[in-house]
Symmetry: C2
Subunit: 150 residues, 2 copies
Amino acid sequence: MREQIDSGKQSAAAWAKRCYFAGRAVMDATLRPYDLGATQWYVLWHLANFGPTVQRDLGRALELERATLSGVVATLVRKRLIRQEASGEDQRQRLLSLTASGDVLWRELPDLTFIQQTAFGGIDDADLATTIRVLQAATERLQDLVQKEK
Amino acid sequence: MREQIDSGKQSAAAWAKRCYFAGRAVMDATLRPYDLGATQWYVLWHLANFGPTVQRDLGRALELERATLSGVVATLVRKRLIRQEASGEDQRQRLLSLTASGDVLWRELPDLTFIQQTAFGGIDDADLATTIRVLQAATERLQDLVQKEK
DNA sequence: CATGATTCGTTCGCTACCTAGCGAATATTG
DNA sequence: CAATATTCGCTAGGTAGCGAACGAATCATG
């Protein structure tokens, strides 16, 4: 929202938005041949790298709301790429794991780390650290604001 | 997506995402009593500050796709907060302006600039500038990547 | 041990984005 | 001037994310 750039504060927020959407656009374009969304890729990525995971833990790891993850998981189950089983200990929990075909697909998928490499590669380490620190601080303050609204 | 923090590069992208959604959450919470979404607010804001605007120009100013804006505009027209008229010069264009009730509502709305003030206030100017520069560079590189995919 | 609070996953309904494709209007070019 | 290309707004269909509300399971407390 370009006109909001009357001060650096608006500008920072606007660039955070643009950066997020630009990154997602690249992921979407890359994953299009595989009929996968960015979030679906993250789920497969986690299961491939960390093995079977309880849905709650997956949500916390990927920082997704239960409702959001629920929908993504349902989609992947429908595609038979992941499996959703009862967890032994807690009957409320669902244990997620890759199916055989999910594992096969995962091996075919391109490595997506090149996206961040392209985006932030060559940027000064100190500047990158500053950026992360500023965004982190802003996010925390915003989350506090939401809490206070309630 | 916290586990992606094996390098600052993933982390920066993840924080950009969180920052964007946190900001939107505050806007949504603030605007809830008025039954308005964040994007709807931006449209009203622009019309209140810049007067009647052609839909195409509004889309460019707010950096929204035609399709996205089309839906938002339809919603606001349905609420009778804005008006959509034929533009004199070009018969394809639609001129948008606040209705009387839209103007009344706008005056009631709280000032939302406090959100960015809260989020980025007190942060060192140089750090803020660095953040903007890094995000801007990353966004441009990502957009180039998308172009190449095509 | 019974009651109440919390947690987990689901569903519903919403906003906000996108791409693709359409028809109509306008610009460009041979 | 006719044919072609572009632009503008709309619609359809998709993903991503949220909050609220719900049943079932579990935990905490009197």
